[in-house]
Symmetry: C2
Subunit: 370 residues, 2 copies
């Protein structure tokens, strides 16, 4: 079985494991993003996985020799590879190598632009699910009206199913992520449904509603009950819990809508000379707005529920997007997030057993303030 | 059993049945919207349902005496009423009266701002499901890059479940609605999933994928396969088929995202004097943009799969929104949509039986060009 690297974390907490391959734009973009990140983060170091012959010149061109160690891996997981194929034939891929560096305690967090299904399958195989987790989840950040600027939504598509116990685990993991990734001391957790009335929704949602409400106190979050799709960007909730099918559709719908509105806005402003002049005058403000809702800023789906943390960067991410994912990874590495999360979910089973009991003697590992 | 009013359609096709009550803004707003609609549509007539003492002065104030007939109904379905309550105690409500006017052939289409669950339950009780339909659906319009400006998505929330046969029925109904409501001769139909690869998604989606593909030729639509959330506003698809849980979340997520972006845009433009001047210069273009994505323009969820057509107007619709729903209702009334749809879905059962057979003698009711 997996030995969780609680010892080496202090030495590897500054080291990220980066899969250079698998992104739509190739390793040059990943290395450019890595260069940006390293320039802004003097203490960080990276292990870069991929064909050495291809990566060495890129590392040299960015003058990263002292900050980046290349791990040679000849094969690449393609976007079209099925997860089962990756598991069977992926041993020599850069993705496998990047995950194993985290497994072996050489790095704190793994980042890859590779195909999501393959990355999740390999991560589960090599890092194993954390104790108490049945279905790992992908957490994404959602631009919102919150002071933090973002909400957390999970599962964004790791698994197309989630039962009531999975949804409870997602609530605990999402709250822990919001604390460590977004600095929200006591996250507000909501359960996504088609209405906020208690009688609405699928059967497993009604049960999960009860389970999460009862876990809130010990889980150190506030449960605000059912939320709707319109609440995703709201400031009434920090963590939105849903199954991976619904979450994935919602995420892509939100992205698609924002992109349509942006496109229509550009079209409208370029429609006549007067509004073109207006756009010119307002260009500073429009640029700030674009930055605020730029999907590259929220790049990085975090795999939760494994013994270590893996971050999926968008396949089409450019250097800015890759750098954003690396910054997020570094932040989570620095806070020792993997260990904190594992402690949280390990206590979930205990939580479930304790529910309804008033066990005053409870001083479990969920009191670590993570 | 219900007698479908094929005879009186020609006389009632100009008549809409309007529930004056149940909207958040009260009957004054509904009558104001009705007045707008009637001013633009000289041949139309309306039956208006609600407390006569309240409605008569409103009708008089808008000088609609010759165009509107008030049907007295003392009770109102409240937003908080559960569907079961409405079914048991709703007999004297304006909603019941509005639906029955369509059932009795006095009007072609019913429009209500009242609570969705109650309206669907009453519609199913009084109008009955059309032959071949297991689960009726709500179809909504989605602002898109299409030439028509809109895509159709269903189910937007009539039922939180849908099996493979329901999804096939939704495809047929959605295609018929796109033909009649949006004038798209040969709609492109897509099935919402978490990826476009054939091996992805829930089991019922894979079966529905096969069923819809095989029904496309006789259903006179093009099946483009799986689509993702990001495709909802795209120009690659006209009709998006999904279950009511996913559809409802997607709809509200899209609305919430558009509203967040709009809010951030206003904030950005008002942020400094230069951009305020810019906004002033561009205000014509920005106004057109706002109109283009105005949710009021797409107001009107159409209940599909009943023997007659009911349109749910948004509870918070203002007069413009109510008028939009009435225009949509009138358009569907004029095209004889209810009968055409019933013929379509009645042939669905035949379609399913015929699938895989090359029955050259087939000259069923699905050849009516609707």
């Amino acid at each position: 079985m997996i030995q969780r690297q609680t010892g080496p974390v202090s030495t590897s907490a500054n080291v990220l494991s980066v899969d250079a391959m698998g992104g739509d734009k190739g390793p040059a973009t990943v290395v450019a993003g890595l260069s940006k990140f390293l320039a802004a983060t003097p203490d960080a170091h990276a292990l870069l996985h991929g064909p050495k012959a291809e990566l060495d010149p890129l590392v040299a061109a960015h003058h990263l020799a002292g900050r980046v160690t290349v791990h040679d891996a000849s094969d690449v997981v393609k976007m079209s590879d099925k997860p089962s194929h990756v598991l069977r034939h992926g041993k020599k891929t850069s993705m496998w190598s990047a995950i194993d560096a985290v497994r072996d305690g050489q790095a704190a967090v793994c980042v890859s632009c590779g195909n999501t299904g393959g990355l999740m399958a390999l991560s589960m195989l090599r890092l194993r699910k954390a104790e108490g987790v049945n279905r790992p989840a992908i957490a994404c950040l959602w631009p919102s009206r919150n002071p933090a600027g973002f909400n957390v939504m999970l599962d964004a598509g790791a698994d197309i199913r989630a039962d009531q116990d999975d949804l409870l685990t997602y609530a605990l993991m999402g709250a822990s992520y919001a604390r460590n990734g977004l600095d929200i001391a006591r996250p507000r957790v909501g359960l996504l449904n088609v209405g906020t009335e208690e009688h609405k929704g699928r059967a497993e949602l009604k049960v999960a509603h009860e389970l999460i409400a009862r876990a809130a106190e010990k889980g150190e979050f506030d449960y605000i009950g059912f939320v709707e799709g319109g609440d995703l960007p709201s400031n009434k909730v920090d963590v939105i819990v849903t199954d991976g099918f619904t979450g994935n559709v919602a995420l892509k719908t939100g992205e698609g809508t924002a992109s349509l509105v942006g496109e229509l806005l550009r079209g409208a402003m370029m429609g006549n000379p007067l509004s073109m002049l207006g756009a010119l005058l307002a260009r500073g403000s429009l640029r700030r707005l674009r930055k605020r809702i730029d999907p590259r800023r929220v790049n990085g789906g975090v795999f939760l529920g494994l013994n270590q943390t893996v971050i999926k960067s968008h396949g089409s991410a450019d250097a800015t997007g890759v750098a954003a994912a690396l910054h997020l990874a570094y932040r989570l590495a620095q806070t020792g997030f993997s260990d904190k999360l594992a402690a949280r979910v390990a206590s979930a089973a205990t939580l479930a057993q304790d529910q309804g009991q008033d066990n005053a003697a409870e001083t479990g590992s969920n009191k670590t303030g993570d």
